[in-house]
């Protein structure tokens, strides 16, 4: 499998070249185009995991695209304007913000995880995704705005709206941005994620929630 990312960074499109008999699993709605020889199969991975995904802010279903005994091509995109990244799976795997997931090789298990109180208040939702694989695999992520890879050497504090993914080797906890709740509110930063340890963190240069709030504040109220 070979992935090219076109139209970066504002309107990224992933062109996935599938070798004969290869397949890739994508978030429902992410498909932009495909060669006619690909077979698409829709699955929820069992009712429970479908429901969990749905609660996690993702779609209930995912689609697997498989090439026959010849090569095939699949085009994938994110819902929002922004960049995409390909991550090679590591031993520890990754944690990701649920809306960042676009696709993965079929050997990658993408489990919705209850972040517990840890992510209860996070703008990213109640759940995070944990991506792990027993063998080499690939993960395709989408972001709002540009993507920047930061290296956490000890500690970093990240606004939850700007988080895309991070190495599962890192410890994280959700907290206030300032010392008190009132100050955190006034600072406009709300909740942040405190990371500890060594590992990579991918951030996006825009927060969808902040963008939405800014534009929504200028729109007329919805009439009932």
């Amino acid at each position: 499998m070979h992935v090219e990312i076109l139209y970066r960074p504002a309107h990224a499109l992933a062109r996935v070249h599938l070798a004969p008999h290869e397949s890739i699993t994508a978030e429902s709605g992410a498909m932009v185009g495909m060669s006619p020889n690909l077979a698409m199969q829709t699955q929820s991975g069992g009712l429970l995991s479908g429901v969990k995904r749905w609660f996690g802010g993702e779609s209930f279903f995912r689609n697997t695209f498989t090439a026959p005994a010849e090569r095939g091509e699949l085009l994938l995109a994110h819902a929002l304007c922004g960049d995409m990244r390909v991550l090679e799976l590591t031993q520890a795997g990754f944690l990701l913000q649920s809306s960042a997931f676009i696709a993965a090789t079929p050997n990658v298990s993408v489990q919705t995880e209850l972040g517990g109180l840890k992510s209860f208040f996070a703008g990213t939702g109640l759940f995070v995704l944990r991506a792990t694989a027993p063998s080499p695999g690939m993960l395709l992520l989408g972001a709002f705005g540009g993507v920047e890879e930061l290296y956490c050497d000890g500690n970093l504090v990240i606004d939850t709206g700007h988080l895309v993914a991070w190495d599962a080797t890192l410890d994280y906890s959700l907290g206030k941005s300032s010392s008190g709740w009132l100050l955190s509110f006034l600072s406009g930063e709300g909740l942040v994620c405190h990371f500890r340890g060594q590992g990579r963190i991918w951030i996006q240069s825009r927060s969808a929630a902040a963008y939405g709030r800014e534009v929504a504040s200028l729109l007329p109220p919805r009439r009932r």
């Binding site: 600072s187 930063e189 240069s205 919805r222």
Partner: protein
């Protein structure tokens, strides 16, 4: 202090690297990430002459601005206890422009301010009827002093050096140098031009100095979105 602006022009993000003891001030809500060695403190956007009167004035202005819409009235001070970086980004799609101030005055439209460092003073300037007509809010942010200023736009930023006069659509005005004077006039075409050209009133900047325009207009985005909202 070093800085880098990345991901421009569409989704620009600012990184400021601080040595121990250095401080950078950012618009509330603009923080993307920071090292833990940077302490964050929320302060009223009152400038450094923090006398009781100027604090009161800032608070009144802040509440007014809050009511009218526009930027928040709190800023975050990031001070490095140990060397580290802070990343800042505006909410909308756009560019970030850096300006090294050497005593001159700059006037910024509502929402254009992102961050500053050093001996920079921020003061709200009442724009009067002119600003009201220009629909850019009642206030401009006057920025002066010696230090760094970062401001932001919706869309790309075009800098134009004015010598004489230049007309700018009010929704596209980001900021201008203080030795230019702003006035409001019709774009031309008589009464029909005023009512039907889609340009309405424009800002005329006269004198010698630089003006910054943004290539997109938030009002146009809102005007396009509004009729499509579900009822």
């Amino acid at each position: 202090m070093q800085h880098a602006i990345t991901h421009g022009p569409s989704f620009a993000m600012l990184r400021v690297d601080l040595a121990p003891g250095e401080t950078v001030v950012g618009e509330a809500g603009a923080m993307v990430a920071r090292h833990q060695g940077l302490a964050m403190a929320v302060k009223l956007n009152a400038g450094q002459k923090s006398g009781v009167f100027s604090l009161l004035k800032a608070l009144v202005a802040a509440v007014l601005r809050r009511l009218i819409g526009g930027e928040t009235f709190f800023v975050n001070h990031f001070t490095a206890n140990s060397a580290g970086s802070v990343w800042l980004a505006p909410p909308l799609a756009g560019q970030i422009v850096h300006r090294r101030l050497q005593g001159e005055l700059l006037l910024l439209s509502t929402g254009a301010y992102l961050a500053h460092a050093g001996g920079v003073e921020l003061e709200l300037k009442f724009g009067g009827l002119r600003a009201l007509l220009a629909r850019k809010g009642l206030f401009f942010l006057g920025v002066t002093g010696h230090g760094d200023l970062w401001f932001t736009s919706y869309g790309g930023v075009e800098a134009i050096d004015v010598n004489g006069s230049y007309l700018v659509d009010n929704g596209h005005l980001v900021g201008y140098e203080g030795n230019l004077t702003l006035s409001i006039r019709s774009a031309g075409g008589g009464l029909l031009g005023l009512a039907a050209s889609g340009e309405g009133l424009v800002c005329e900047l006269s004198g010698q100095g630089r003006v910054w325009l943004q290539t997109r207009n938030l009002e146009s985005l809102v005007g396009w979105l509004t009729p499509m909202l579900p009822r």
